[in-house]
């Protein structure tokens, strides 16, 4: 089987499995919506403050939702032995990793992206920032999935991997958060956000090229 066909087959498989477990798909999205909705309840009496915080709140909520959903990338495959089979395949594991991460992003990241403008509205985010919000999340959420995959791969064999996963992944997430929220914050004030967006795209390209290699290496270590 050619590499492209293996890639597409893996992608399709993960998407199909995810659709069969639709409730799992909804969890990160639900979390995203719930967390963002808590803020107007807490800060609602000060709408100006809320709209100032909106970029950060949406971004933090998206980041946490991504973090919570990371475990699903490899967990079930690890438990039923599919992951081992994947590592034994003749195809480069890093490319197969991209397929799995892409599936993960389509299931968990893309819905966040689509819902974000609505939530931004709830928080009083100015409409001029909506485009930047979506673009920053479009660059950011795949990067979060890619980088998160490294952490998951390192901890997939551990029993209580969840806590350590957050510790490992959050330091790597922070720069993305800073620039992503910063871009939206700038846009909300009408200031140019091009610099931040360039950096966000750089993060995406960097993580797309380098993190699959690290993830593949980490999987090999975890399954050894």
């Amino acid at each position: 089987m050619s590499l492209l066909r293996a890639f597409l087959a893996l992608l399709r498989r993960d998407l199909v499995i995810a659709f069969r477990r639709r409730s799992e798909m909804v969890n990160p999205l639900l979390f995203f919506v719930l967390v963002t909705s808590l803020f107007p309840l807490a800060v609602g009496s000060q709408p100006k403050l809320l709209s100032l915080m909106a970029p950060g709140v949406v971004w933090v909520a998206a980041l946490l939702a991504a973090l919570l959903s990371l475990d699903t990338i490899f967990r079930s495959d690890f438990e039923d032995g599919t992951l081992e089979q994947l590592l034994l395949s003749a195809h480069p594991v890093s490319v197969l990793v991209i397929a799995k991460v892409l599936a993960h992003w389509l299931i968990t990241g893309l819905p966040l992206l689509l819902v974000a403008p609505v939530l931004g509205n709830f928080l009083g985010l100015p409409s001029q920032a909506m485009g930047t919000l979506m673009l920053s999340l479009a660059f950011g959420t795949p990067a979060l999935s890619l980088i998160g995959a490294i952490g998951v791969a390192l901890t997939v064999g551990l029993r209580k991997g969840g806590v350590i996963l957050s510790l490992l992944v959050l330091p790597l997430y922070v720069p993305i958060l800073i620039f992503g929220a910063g871009a939206v914050g700038n846009a909300a004030m009408g200031i140019d956000a091009t610099a931040q967006m360039y950096i966000m795209s750089a993060f995406l390209i960097l993580s797309l090229t380098l993190s699959p290699i690290a993830t593949a290496a980490a999987l090999r270590v975890s399954l050894s």
Binding site: I150, T155, L168, L170, P171, L172, V174, P175, V221
Partner: protein, 247 residues
């Protein structure tokens, strides 16, 4: 060829254990001497800064600690590459033995920085590029330590943290260049600029002495921890029995 022989021997645990035991007092002694020299120069000889007064003397622990926090993480990443590519066990040992020392220096850099920032900038903390990335560095160190502790098999743990160290090293250039990229309260580069450093020489020398002292301290602390790690890994081997078995 001599170096090749040296590295070949270095990779042998019993040789390392024996030689490091003999080297320990030398590193400790050299560190103590340089420390005294640096403290004398920094606390006594160096003139007070015309802007910051005597508070600037915190520089003599803050900056060397910060330099070490970066240096040690890069060393860990290099060890990570060596251990994954050439599978040299001593590289694994050096990596995991360095992590607590690096974390300690990072914490020290952050804490002394706060103690310096409060009288100078009026605030204990500011979320600028350098402080934020140094804080991230602390969490990266803690992550290495936590991950190594969580994996039961030492071999697997060593390889996992090697990957983590390599991935995290991206943060180091960000910290170093952050004061150039972002305008900030933090002092710009004064020592490691490629042209003449813009710091008075009487203030500079104790700084360099303290930096060297901290490097020797790192070597000293590293060897102590590495010996424990080697002993633990090799506890079932013959050379350990021969070493410790006799009553």
């Amino acid at each position: 060829m001599i170096f090749g022989n040296f590295f070949h021997k270095m990779a042998s645990p019993p040789w390392f254990y024996r030689v490091s035991g003999k080297m320990l007092p030398w590193f400790g002694g050299a560190f103590a001497l340089l420390l005294l020299w640096g403290l004398y120069g920094g606390l006594y000889l160096a003139p007070a800064d015309y802007q910051q007064g005597d508070s600037f003397r915190i520089i003599y622990v803050h900056v060397p600690a910060a330099w070490m926090s970066l240096f040690i993480y890069v060393a860990m990443a290099v060890c990570g590459v060596i251990s994954l590519v050439w599978r040299i066990k001593m590289a694994e040992v050096v990596l995991i033995s360095s992590a607590p020392i690096g974390a300690a220096f990072t914490f020290l850099a952050l804490a002394t920085g706060s103690l310096w920032g409060k009288p100078m900038w009026g605030t204990w903390w500011v979320w600028d590029g350098r402080l934020t990335s140094e804080l991230i560095l602390l969490f990266l160190y803690l992550g290495v330590i936590a991950l190594h502790g969580a994996i039961e098999d030492r071999q697997t743990a060593a390889r996992a943290v090697a990957i983590l160290a390599i991935v995290g090293v991206v943060n180091v250039p960000i910290i170093h260049y952050s004061v150039e990229w972002w305008s900030t309260l933090h002092q710009g580069p004064t020592v490691t600029k490629l042209d003449k450093p813009s710091i008075h020489v009487d203030m500079l020398i104790p700084l360099l002495v303290m930096a060297l002292a901290f490097k020797l301290y790192y070597a000293w602390g590293l060897l102590i921890r590495a010996r424990s790690e080697v002993l633990e890994r090799e506890r079932n081997s013959k050379w350990v029995r021969d070493l410790l078995g006799e009553p």
